[in-house]
């Protein structure tokens, strides 16, 4: 190719001066990105940097306040995602949008059904899907039910869905967040094939090793604006991270062990029946000592939520649970909390907060029957507010006042409030489920610090996380949960995320290591 023809190749996507304001915040400010066709272009940035807003703009879900979008050289203006699909842009969402009780074929054609005389033309659809799957190396059985598919397969279905609609530019929003390392490798293989076919992939992520592995070009977003465009062959993960954060990265590593001999929580033979034959929890037993963090690794949906809810007394289970030597198996959730269990729930909006109530009322939640919130039959408003002030101060919750509604806070600040609340009243045992999910790097470091300090002070912690670095960094012991069973006990000091991933998917058979 001569220099002349190269110059005439128009960029697949060109964003210029994109600005989007939301009430009180600027989500995107003067974003400039040029994506060359036939490449994998990564957009990296930490949580809350404005990546999602940018992608929503590119996919027509939101309109930018300023700036222009050009696709293949032509200026476009999207009002709805269908406008974006019409010019060949497709989006694979982070959370799959599939109907479980439909087959792969049905899911792919849903909303774009080929019809013959008003009837779904299955034959035509099948030919098209098989052809697409073959040319792009996306192996799936079109007649399987989606509910029987694993996460990696579901993702392939999502990609096929987009290709089926004729997309030439694919946006993948955090596609690896739900995958274990082995599946990530498969996905990347698929992406390379797509690239070879001349398709353009926009890859959004904050996992830098992966980005360096797959991307041909990288754009870094920080605080809503593009701060750098770099060539992956010229940067290290460390440098990229510092561009992303604008400063040194925190690490979740714990220092010396503080594990003692005293058992705080003892779970024996915990079993929870499911709907069918399969048990949701199958003979789960473990101990957590004073000053110990026990990490539970597992692909989501393998019994983690059930385990937490059984320990909290929210869902009934057979077996025996002991807290500091007392049998608490038959106790109510309230009594368990009163006797010193703290609980950072996995979904803070669903289980952790009253979004439409003030911060101090959220401080009372879970502590209704204890000081300082309780005063006989009354709620002690003054003491509750004063104690909320303490949490706001000690845990660096950024809020105008303790009367502010919880929904007005950012995710990181909401989470810090929850951590502060659950650490109140000197708990002996803490359940920390995804304690740093969806919070910014600053809050993440602060939450890790609080967990480490509490551990040093003798707190026993059950840590459940999808972030393998967090698990390996914080835990004293790691147990892998797979299909409701604890299949392996591992020592975090000599395990890699890849090996851990092997256990989590059942690829490596469970052996007790430690």
């Amino acid at each position: 190719m001569s220099a002349d023809t190269l110059a005439t190749v128009k960029p697949a996507v060109e964003l210029e001066g994109i600005t989007k304001r939301f009430p009180g915040v600027v989500a995107n400010h003067d974003i400039r990105i040029t994506v060359q066709p036939g490449t994998v272009h990564a957009i990296v940035g930490e949580n809350g940097a404005g990546k999602s807003t940018l992608m929503k703009i590119l996919y027509g879900m939101q309109k930018p306040d300023e700036g222009t979008i050009r696709v293949n050289g032509a200026e476009v203006s999207f009002r709805t995602p269908s406008d974006a699909i019409a010019v060949g842009i497709g989006m694979v969402h982070q959370h799959f949008m599939l109907a479980d009780n439909f087959t792969v074929l049905e899911n792919i054609v849903l909303g774009a059904e080929p019809k013959r005389a008003g009837v779904l033309d299955t034959g035509k659809a099948r030919r098209r899907i098989v052809e697409l799957a073959e040319t792009h190396g996306l192996r799936v059985d079109p007649d399987k039910l989606v509910e029987d598919l694993g996460v990696g397969d579901r993702q392939r279905v999502e990609i096929l869905k987009v290709l089926y609609r004729g997309a030439r530019i694919l946006i993948l929003d955090e596609p690896t967040a739900v995958l274990v390392p082995q599946e990530v490798e498969e996905l990347f293989q698929n992406l390379r094939e797509l690239k070879a076919e001349g398709l353009t992939v926009i890859f959004i992520s904050h996992k830098l090793d992966e980005v360096l592995d797959i991307a041909d070009a990288i754009t870094v977003i920080r605080r809503g604006t593009t701060v750098a465009s770099v060539d992956p062959s010229e940067v290290t993960a460390r440098q990229l991270a510092e561009l992303m954060v604008g400063s040194e990265l925190p690490t979740p590593e714990t220092r010396e062990s503080t594990v003692t001999d005293t058992v705080t929580l003892k779970v024996s033979e915990l079993t929870m029946p499911g709907e069918g034959e399969r048990l949701l929890l199958d003979d789960v037993s473990f101990e957590i000592h004073q000053g110990e963090i026990l990490g539970i690794a597992g692909v989501e949906g393998n019994g983690q939520s059930e385990l937490i809810e059984a320990i909290m007394g929210i869902r009934p289970a057979q077996g025996r649970i002991e807290l500091t030597g007392q049998d608490i198996t038959t106790w109510s959730t309230l009594k368990r909390r009163e006797s010193g269990i703290g609980y950072i729930p996995e979904d803070r909006h669903r289980q952790g907060l009253l979004l439409e109530a003030s911060l101090w009322e959220n401080r009372v939640l879970g502590h209704q029957t204890r000081k300082p919130a309780r005063s006989g039959i009354w709620i002690d408003r003054r003491a509750s507010k004063a104690d909320t002030e303490r949490i706001v101060r000690d845990y660096d919750v950024r809020t105008p006042s303790v009367d502010t509604l919880a929904l007005a806070l950012s995710g990181g600040n909401q989470q810090k409030l929850i951590v502060g609340r659950e650490m109140s009243g000197e708990p002996a045992f803490l359940i920390a489920a995804h304690p740093t999910r969806g919070v910014d790097v600053g809050a993440q470091a602060a939450i890790w610090d609080h967990l480490r300090n509490a551990r040093a002070a003798g707190l026993a912690v059950l840590l459940i996380s999808a972030d393998l670095d967090e698990l390996i960094g914080l835990s004293d012991t790691i147990q892998v949960i797979y299909r409701g069973r604890l299949v392996a006990a591992l020592d975090p000091s000599d395990i890699t995320p890849e090996r851990l991933g092997g256990y989590m998917t059942g690829a490596i058979a469970g052996t007790e290591e430690t």
Partner: protein, 380 residues
């Protein structure tokens, strides 16, 4: 607190807009019906010619507001935790007839007689509400369906009781059936002296201004305190705002369903008492029906808060009272029902809109305040 004040002002503004819109809609309806909207509007404020008629109008207006207020409170206690007690209608009717009957079986000094009747009414109402509550927590029966069905049972049971077991003496040729007359000591002292205090003539119709108004106000204050200041109230609020979070915080949802439902029913039990103790002295077949259903509208209008419910009850009573005046002005009184319906619908919409707006405002205020207070980090 400015943030709370802001929210309150927004709510009031939304409600006012909704009421103005509702009147506009009804003006159109009146026009179509061949009336003059302006005449109708004047008729709404027409309290009568003579001082006596005015006093009577005011008493009728307040007497109507009292049971509506109590009904609104009863419904609101359930609504607060997303528990739809549609059964207030049945609960108050069964409670009223039982209280009227029990009150007629003995005679004691007023300070014993009246409290006993009140307690019986609350007890019966609460017990009747316990049925759907138990069905919900043990068998998962939806309380809406259960309470609607129990309404039919209660209404027909009351009709049977007043003819059969609880029937009192009936004068020859009289058509209404009634429970035995209550002793004089059961009649609640009226508040007619208030009119004299304002230099007006005391009302004469329907037993004057019912003294139960005082009980209703007290009840409103007590319910406010319970809902806003106690642990129980906090648990009700938490369960209503976010059930899973309340559960995770240690609130037992079953206990909450039972206690909220029984409290709601107990309050509902009092709805019929202003009329019985203030005027009729018995439960008869002319007893005012439909207050339980109106209570749902009143609670919605008042946003489940005692002060709001009081305002809503006064508004509804004001409109109800105007039905007579409208007839004199040659305008179909059913216009009032249209206005009430339109107001409830529009206020519910307005509430939703202002609520979202208020929440957004709060987010923006917080973002702005934080933007000012925290130094902007200088990045490389």
């Amino acid at each position: 607190m400015p943030a709370g004040l802001n929210r309150a002002l927004l709510t009031v503004a939304g409600a006012v807009v909704a009421i103005v819109l509702a009147i506009a809609i009804c003006s159109v309806a009146i026009n179509v019906a061949g009336g003059d909207p302006l005449t109708a509007l004047t008729a709404l404020f027409d309290f009568g010619e003579t001082p006596r008629a005015q006093a009577n109008s005011i008493a009728t207006f307040l007497n109507r507001a009292v049971p509506l207020f109590i009904a609104g409170l009863a419904v609101a206690v359930g609504f607060r935790m997303n528990l739809f007690n549609i059964g207030v209608e049945g609960q108050y009717r069964i409670a009223a007839i039982c209280a009227a009957y029990v009150g007629s079986t003995f005679t004691a000094p007023a300070w014993i007689q009246i409290p006993v009747i009140i307690v019986v009414a609350a007890l019966v109402g609460g017990l009747y509400a316990l049925i759907p509550a138990v069905m919900k927590v043990t068998r998962g029966v939806n309380e809406v369906i259960a309470t609607i069905m129990l309404n039919y049972i209660a209404i027909n049971l009351a009709a049977f009781l007043v003819r059969g077991p609880f029937a009192g003496q009936r004068a020859k040729g009289e058509l209404t059936v009634t429970t035995p007359q209550l002793p004089d000591s059961a009649m609640f002292p009226d508040l007619n002296f208030l009119f004299e205090g304002f230099g007006m003539l005391p009302p004469t119709r329907g037993g004057g201004l019912w003294g139960f108004l005082v009980v209703a106000i007290l009840l409103g204050v007590v319910i406010w305190v319970v809902l806003e200041r106690t642990r129980f109230g906090f648990n009700v609020k938490a369960s209503g705002l976010n059930g899973p979070a309340a559960l995770a915080s240690g609130v037992n949802p079953k206990t909450m369903v039972i206690s909220a439902m029984v409290l709601s029913g107990a309050i509902a039990g009092l709805i019929g008492l202003p009329e019985i103790l203030g005027d009729r002295g018995a439960y008869n077949s002319n007893f005012t029906a439909g207050l339980g259903f109106l209570g749902i509208a009143v609670a919605l209008l008042g946003r489940n808060k005692p002060v709001g419910i009081a305002i809503a009850a006064l508004l509804f009573a004001f409109l109800d009272r105007a039905q007579g005046a409208l007839q004199f002005a040659d305008i179909p009184p059913s216009v009032i029902t249209i206005i009430q319906g339109a107001i409830v619908l529009l206020v519910v919409v307005a509430n939703e809109v202002t609520n979202r707006f208020a929440l957004r405002l709060e987010e923006r205020r917080a973002a702005q305040q934080l933007g000012r207070n925290t130094p902007v980090e200088v990045t490389a």
